[in-house]
């Protein structure tokens, strides 16, 4: 079995330690560990984190292999320090049967760059009319526990109620894309000062907040847990905070882009800034950061949404919504949360590994960096500064809002069960 010694890294940002990987397991942690028979990585000044877990990734396969495949998407994940990703169900065909989720699961196994846990659709074809066979997807080889119609909201209150109740039988969770459809017809960007000037259809905060309010109350009523995808407004934060204070079993995620970017960027009419939910205001950004820091928002999830060039190289209204995020997520979190003093690296490990693994029940992921645990690890150089260059992305798509922007930090190594998937910033 191969051994690797990571020497002198600050584990979760704490004291410098040596971490010895033996095979697929962390064999030993401590200081002055012997490097006998081991490949050594000198990691002084670097941060060692548990492998990151993304609860919200669009891998696009099957159906849109022109924008991403399971292979290219997991390579992007490894580049970004992820060891597990949850693949959203809005593929073509939709992942609403055991067959499709097993296909995605198998492709993930074959890729070898990170674990792929398929998410199952809540309703057949994401159409909100009929429950998909949730039990069959759970019992399939893919073992689905997270269900979401992401991209679309389960807006029918009865359908949502039933889904919340039904998945209790096998400990599943429904992840809601909170978007009241009638309030967002023709929506192109956040509704507010900027949309008024630009003449772009508004996506009001209340369209998200009203659904979240309804769903936390539904979850309370039927005694289920509910997860809120890509929470984006200050008002949503208040509702989730209130729900948690009542003891409602709700978890929530925020994307890196909602922690950094605002709707002011839309003034350029450049569709790289077009995303759903839309970029909001400075006030929202600040509220989201604070909520992630105080635990109201549980996790960071990328909503990595690859699109081919032509779907962004056009006028705003014709452009697709979404941005890639796997390869920049940690840097954005470092800039917005760590360098602002809102979160330490242990907090980052919690929001980007421990908690998402817990919510999605990703076995072997989000574990402590200690002896006997699976060696899913991410090594970060926090001192690095560099401009984002999409040409260097492992993702098949380049639709990043950060092109040319200087972001801090760089993932240098990623280990998936002891095997290096990323070495010195290069895919292995």
């Amino acid at each position: 079995m191969s051994k690797t010694l990571i020497r002198g890294a600050k584990v979760l940002g704490g004291e410098a330690q040596d971490v010895l990987i033996d095979g697929d397991t962390i064999a030993q942690t401590g200081t002055g560990l012997s490097d006998e028979g081991a490949q050594v990585i000198e990691a002084e000044g670097q941060i060692l984190l548990p492998g990151l877990v993304d609860l919200h990734t669009h891998l696009r396969e099957p159906g849109r292999e022109d924008s991403e495949t399971v292979l290219t998407g997991t390579r992007a994940a490894a580049s970004g320090g992820y060891t597990a990703v949850f693949a959203m169900a809005n593929t073509f065909p939709v992942a609403d049967t055991a067959g499709v989720v097993e296909q995605v699961y198998r492709l993930g196994k074959e890729s070898g760059y990170c674990d792929v846990q398929p998410i199952g659709a809540v309703t057949v074809g994401l159409e909100g009319k009929k429950l998909a066979e949730l039990g069959a997807m759970h019992e399939s080889a893919a073992g689905v526990t997270v269900f979401s119609d992401d991209g679309k909201c389960v807006d029918d209150a009865v359908m949502m109620r039933r889904a919340l109740e039904y998945v209790k039988a096998f400990g599943g969770v429904v992840a809601q894309h909170a978007q009241e459809p009638r309030l967002t017809e023709g929506a192109q960007m956040n509704e507010g000062v900027v949309s008024a000037e630009l003449g772009l259809g508004g996506w009001p905060a209340v369209a998200e907040e009203s659904i979240i309010a309804r769903d936390v109350l539904l979850a309370e009523h039927v005694g289920s847990r509910v997860h809120i995808c890509h929470l984006s407004t200050a008002g949503s934060v208040e509702i989730v905070r209130w729900a948690k204070s009542r003891g409602i079993d709700v978890t929530a995620e925020v994307t890196p882009h909602h922690l950094l970017l605002t709707d002011e960027l839309v003034r350029s009419y450049n569709p790289v800034y077009k995303v759903n939910p839309p970029l909001r205001t400075e006030r929202d950004v600040m509220a989201l950061r604070e909520a992630l820091a105080d635990g109201t928002i549980d996790i960071v999830a990328t909503d990595h949404a690859p699109h081919p060039h032509e779907d962004k190289d056009c006028e705003w209204a014709a452009a697709a919504m979404g941005m890639v995020g796997l390869e920049t997520a940690l840097s954005v979190v470092q800039q917005t949360m760590v360098e602002t003093g809102l979160l330490d690296w242990a907090g980052v490990a919690d929001r980007m590994s421990f908690k998402p693994a817990q919510i999605g029940q990703a076995k072997g992921h989000g574990r402590p960096v200690s002896a006997g645990e699976p060696a899913n690890l991410t090594l970060v150089d926090p001192a690095y500064r560099g401009e984002v260059d999409p040409a260097g992305f492992a993702s098949r798509s380049r639709n990043t809002p950060y092109e040319g922007r200087e972001l801090p930090g760089r993932v240098t190594h990623t280990f998936l069960r002891g095997r290096a998937t990323l070495v010195d910033g290069k895919l292995a």
Partner: protein
């Protein structure tokens, strides 16, 4: 002078006044037996219209022809656009054919901005109306009409609209005309009040340099010009207001309301009017209504914009006024 004309908000006071003054000179061409200047001889202007608009397209075409430009009209219907060609490919195709300027009308807000700023083409871009964003030449022709009527044709030269009180009534939410006018009129020193039912005012309007009122009658008495916006009947079905009749009663301009306006005040409309909806026939056909003048002024304004953006030869400039007189 700027390279493109995308938004009325991009114009400084002096640039706007220069366009209005140049338009006055262009207007004199229309009074000549031969309504033509050689200023853009040998230059090709493409009218790229992705949205149906006979009026605006014809107005631009008349302006281009009076400046002796070669004109290419491109309508999206029945073109390669209907076969899925992108805006980028369409624009690059046209530029490859040697187009010197592009006049674009597009249903998507921001499409002209993208065309001008994405590095797709080099030619100057003139926005002829984009979605619910901007329609700068409309705002310019409206300002031109106001200046002529409220300040005077000759007295207006070099002047702005400082202190004039302009009321814009109707579907502000969906109106690029309203947005452009608020920006330009503010730049020219006018005081703008928007009047509409609250459903037809955008969220976020509070940062606009204007007042907002839901009551038409109280603003009429304090208006030097009242601009009525077209209200599309389909808005009714989206619950913006209960019925056409209720809209007319509350926000339509009829003779009785017009009588409340100061004697010198004018009634404007960007056209096409929906008679019986936002404006009665009595008002539309009255002497105070400038609709037809606005159409004529539109040609002069568009000539001025094309002339200034494309930098017509000095020697080809409109002949001096003294000579004409």
């Amino acid at each position: 002078m700027m390279r493109h004309l995308i938004s009325a908000a991009d114009l400084t006071r002096d640039e706007a006044v220069l366009i209005l003054d140049t338009a006055e000179e262009m207007a004199r061409v229309a009074d000549r037996p031969i309504k033509k200047l050689p200023a853009l001889r040998g230059r090709t202007v493409c009218n790229l219209f992705f949205e149906d608009s006979t009026r605006t397209r014809i107005s631009f075409e008349a302006a281009e022809k009076r400046l002796s430009a070669d004109v290419i009209n491109f309508a999206a219907k029945g073109s390669s656009v209907s076969k899925g060609e992108s805006l980028k490919d369409t624009a690059q195709t046209l530029e490859a054919m040697g187009v010197d300027a592009v006049v674009i009308r597009h249903g998507a807000s921001g499409a002209p901005y993208r065309l001008a700023n994405s590095g797709w083409i080099d030619a100057p871009v003139i926005n002829a109306g984009d979605g619910t964003h901007q329609h700068p030449t409309q705002a310019l022709l409206d300002a031109f009409t106001m200046r002529r009527r409220l300040v005077g044709r000759d007295a207006g030269i070099g002047q702005d609209l400082a202190g004039r009180r302009i009321t814009i009534v109707g579907d502000v939410l969906h109106s690029r005309v309203a947005r452009s006018n608020v920006d330009l009129l503010h730049t020219l020193g006018a005081e703008v009040t928007l009047v509409a039912p609250p459903t037809l005012v955008p969220v976020g309007v509070e940062t606009w340099p204007c007042e907002v009122s839901y009551d038409l009658d109280s603003t009429l008495t304090k208006s030097d010009a009242v601009m009525m916006l077209r209200v599309q009947r389909e808005r009714m079905n989206a619950a913006f207001f209960p019925t056409e009749r209720e809209y007319s009663r509350r926000y339509g301009l009829d003779g009785e309301r017009m009588a409340k306006m100061p004697e010198h005040a004018i009634v404007m409309h960007p056209g096409p009017m929906v008679r019986g909806m936002e404006i009665t026939a009595e008002v539309a056909d009255s002497d105070r209504c400038t609709v037809i003048e606005q159409v004529a002024n539109g040609v002069s304004i568009r000539m001025a914009v094309l002339y200034l953006l494309l930098g017509g030869n000095e020697s080809d400039a409109p002949t001096t006024r003294t000579e004409e007189k």
